[in-house]
């Protein structure tokens, strides 16, 4: 509609040459972006649907699949959802805290081994934890023999493993942002009698909150989708996460319960999508600073 107003003011050919064709490209991109999402949403509203019936989009409109989703003893969706939230939030909060502490040290203090530490972190960043999945599995197997509470099949154990990757992924990103906060602020606070802990918690942390939000969000979303380590460590269906559970759901039932899977997928996606849309401004700045999802 806006376009037609524009075309009233500008001759159509000129409008087309300047911006009209861009809208055409835009429409094609929107179609490409949205159609898998529309497809999965429509499939979720089609109770009892299989892959083949999901092809007629929006032929049905019922929330029964969402209800059915929570009443399957073999696939405890509610437990998966809560597990994922618990693991994701804990790991993300822990990562932010550990990363911020380390970034503060690297940014504000000068000590032997500092440059070596920074270079090591940049290198460690290149080696994601999942490369060592076999060793992580065997380590947790060994820990589980002595301390079942934090070994194999334990969510606390999984969170600890995720925290092991926290420094490598986040510190460097945070370090760059910490450096943009002028040190004169610290000095002023120190003259006023604040100790290092007070400066860190009450002065620096609020100032760097945009990067904290980005790191928290990215590590939350990262943990929500993490499959390899979660599938290797968590064995009981009751303790698994959405990624592991939904994958097994789909590989056991292939195309039979497609509608229920679609409902599960829609619910699982709500939180990350909402967070992304709300915080998109921060995220874009974080992306440009060098993080990958």
């Amino acid at each position: 509609m806006q376009d037609s107003q524009v075309s009233l003011r500008r001759p159509f050919r000129r409008w087309w040459r300047e911006t009209g064709w861009r809208h055409l490209v835009g429409a094609a991109v929107v179609l490409f972006c949205v159609f898998p999402l529309v497809y999965v949403f429509s499939a979720s509203l089609n109770p009892g649907g299989t892959l083949i019936t999901a092809n007629s989009l929006f032929s049905n409109f019922s929330l029964d699949s969402y209800i059915e989703l929570f009443n399957r003893p073999q696939q405890p969706y509610a437990a998966w959802f809560l597990n994922t939230l618990f693991i994701g939030l804990s790991a993300s909060a822990g990562s932010v805290l550990l990363g911020a502490l380390a970034a503060y040290a690297f940014s504000r203090m000068r000590f032997t081994g500092r440059r070596f530490g920074l270079i090591t972190l940049v290198l460690v960043q290149m080696f994601p934890q999942l490369l060592a999945m076999v060793a992580i599995f065997l380590l947790m197997l060994g820990i589980g023999e002595v301390f079942p509470a934090i070994g194999l099949n334990s969510q606390i154990g999984l969170i600890m493993v995720y925290l092991g990757g926290a420094l490598g992924v986040n510190t460097y990103l945070m370090y760059g942002f910490f450096n943009t906060v002028p040190t004169s602020i610290d000095e002023a606070a120190r003259i006023d009698g604040a100790g290092h802990a007070r400066i860190f918690f009450t002065i620096i942390l609020p100032l760097v909150s945009p990067i904290l939000a980005v790191v928290a969000l990215l590590s939350l979303v990262g943990t929500l989708s993490e499959f390899v380590i979660a599938s290797v460590l968590l064995r009981d269906p009751e303790r698994q996460t959405l990624a592991v559970g939904l994958y097994q759901f789909i590989s056991q039932e292939t195309s039979q319960n497609w509608s229920i899977f679609a409902a599960g997928a829609v619910l699982a996606a709500i939180i990350p999508v909402a967070l992304f849309l709300l915080l998109q401004r921060y995220i874009v700045s974080g992306l440009v600073a060098g993080s990958v999802k």
Binding site: H23, L130, A135, F227
Partner: protein, 546 residues
């Protein structure tokens, strides 16, 4: 490392402070920290030490002296760091470092160790365990052997007890003996006997009849060695009241290190391959874990059924990562240029829609696309191609194309956002000036904006390459690595990348080979390490660190 003397942010805690400055800092710290923080510190350190002491005790009781000592050392080091004044950087770095050292650095070294063993299905324990396991699997009740009066006990007390079960029996001469899984019978002190049956024992608690019924499965599965020598046989029970002697068909000769089948007389020897084998090479399973040296690496490069797939998968991993970066970057850049025009309205809404594929969890996108690309029932074949049966995910080449298409969908929003950011940072005057001088818009873009953009984005392209190099979720959820290559000696398909191959060798199917999988991991480490060193050399990122 030398003390840093560059002009970075100021040096609040350098060694060069004067004495009075240091004193002043101490006073400031002491007054500003407040009693709450001190209390917090003491409570946390107390909890930490208590946990460490408990952990060390349990570890020492399990004869794990090395790890137990490391736990103690770690706890002492942490306490020392936080209780003294100074060492401020260590205080801030220690929490993250502890996790980093265990779950990132140590596991890499451990992968290196596992790569030199035959660890995997059938080889996951010690030789002693393997001998026991073989004998346990092949048991028969000894004909005419005596019946033992049996009582089932568990450990008494609350602290540090396991729920392990014990068999207490009386021998022919009336002495009471007790034993458990992998704990041979030994004389029981302080046993109370009633009609030849043990009814009470110091430190143990008799299982009531109800408990016995409750844990029936455990009781009937329990196998207690009669003595240290596995050839003496084992005690087993069917009802929790009477136990019988069982012996194995195999006899272990410790001095000759052989297993003999007592029925056929066949002799199995330890051939140095982690299992007992007879003359014709037939192995008794389970075997045990041994160090096999470079064997896994040698197998990977000499055995045709592994070498072929490994080379193929490595090449595809590079091709996949490179093509993914190239396609997403080209589309992202194109869209960024198209939408980077101030005259265009409602750009904000386009951008919002384009974030959606990026925001949607990656593993779900891959699963949804896998449904849409299904050959028989999928949306793409049935609706878009009017019922054609295009094998999107089952043809070796089409499956590769499908993976790239889906990764384009997943990845172009990121490139679009990043390119838009970089484009907006380049001053508009540059291309305007070029156009004044007579350059066509595209020419101006190619020779002025593009080089600037590429320098800004190069590090992101490198990390995107590294990310896709290990993009496990997409490959595993979309095609499962398939279609499977049936000629290969390992479970691998034509869309598998290195990381998904490691996963499948180690965790998918009934035969796990942790040793070979770790050898593959080490290979990936070497490849990724080489690439990143070259990349960092080129971009000179290290020099910016200070």
């Amino acid at each position: 490392m030398v003390e840093n003397t560059t002009s970075g942010p100021k040096q609040p805690h350098s060694m060069k402070q004067t004495r009075s400055q240091r004193q002043a800092a101490k006073i400031i710290d002491a007054t500003s920290m407040g009693w709450k923080l001190i209390l917090f510190k003491i409570v946390v350190l107390g909890l930490l030490c208590a946990t460490a002491v408990y952990a060390a005790l349990v570890l020492f009781m399990n004869d794990r002296w090395l790890i137990g000592s490391l736990v103690v050392l770690g706890a002492v080091a942490l306490t020392w760091i936080y209780l003294q004044r100074g060492a401020l950087p260590a205080k801030y770095l220690a929490p993250g470092l502890v996790f980093l050292l265990i779950f990132q650095i140590f596991v890499v070294l451990y992968s290196g160790y596992v790569a030199f063993t035959n660890y995997g299905t059938g080889h996951n324990s010690t030789k002693e365990h393997a001998v026991h396991a073989i004998m346990l699997q092949t048991q028969d009740r000894v004909p005419d052997s005596p019946t033992y009066q049996l009582s089932v006990f568990e450990e008494a007390g609350e602290l540090l007890t396991s729920d392990e079960l014990y068999f207490a029996v009386t021998t022919a001469d009336g002495t009471a003996m007790i034993g458990a899984d992998e704990q041979p019978l030994e004389p029981l002190e302080g046993a109370v006997l009633d009609e030849g049956r043990v009814v009470a024992a110091e430190g143990y608690e008799l299982l009531s009849f109800a408990e016995l019924l409750n844990r029936q499965q455990e009781v009937t599965n329990l196998v207690v060695p009669i003595s240290e020598d596995p050839n003496d046989g084992y005690l087993r029970t069917q009802d929790g009241q009477r136990a019988y002697q069982y012996t194995s068909r195999y006899e272990y000769d410790e001095s000759a290190d052989t297993m003999t089948n007592t029925e056929t007389g066949e002799v199995y020897r330890d051939t140095g391959e982690g299992a007992f084998a007879n003359e014709s090479g037939e192995q008794l399973m389970p075997g045990w874990q041994i160090n096999v040296g470079m064997d896994n690496f040698v197998r990977a490069v000499t055995e045709d059924s592994i070498r072929g797939p490994l080379i193929y998968v490595t090449l595809w991993t590079f091709a996949f990562a490179f093509l993914s970066v190239a396609t997403t970057f080209i589309l992202g850049l194109f869209l960024a240029v198209v939408f980077n025009d101030r005259r265009m309205k409602s750009r904000k809404y386009y951008r919002l829609v384009m974030i959606l594929p990026y925001a949607f969890p990656g593993f779900l996108s891959a699963l949804v696309w896998a449904g849409m690309m299904n050959q028989e029932f999928g949306f793409i074949n049935n609706v878009l191609f009017g019922g054609a049966a295009i094998p999107w995910l089952t043809d070796p080449w089409l499956a590769k194309l499908s993976i790239l298409i889906v990764n384009l969908w997943l990845g172009f929003p990121y490139m679009f956002l990043v390119c838009t950011g970089a484009l907006q940072a380049i001053p508009e005057e540059l291309s305007e000036a070029a156009q004044m001088d007579g350059a066509k818009p595209f020419q101006a873009f190619r020779s002025i904006k593009l080089p600037l953009l590429l320098t800004a984005i190069a590090p992101l392209l490198i990390s995107s390459f590294a990310f896709n190099f290990n993009n496990f979720n997409l490959v595993y959820m979309l095609t499962g690595g398939g279609p499977r290559d049936v000629s290969a000696g390992v479970n691998v398909g034509s869309t598998d990348i290195l990381i998904s191959m490691v996963y499948k060798v180690a965790f998918v199917g009934s035969q796990a080979d942790y040793g070979l999988a770790s050898a593959f991991s080490i290979l990936i480490f070497i490849i990724v390490g080489t690439i990143s060193v070259i990349a960092f050399r080129k971009t000179k990122s290290f020099e910016e660190l200070n």
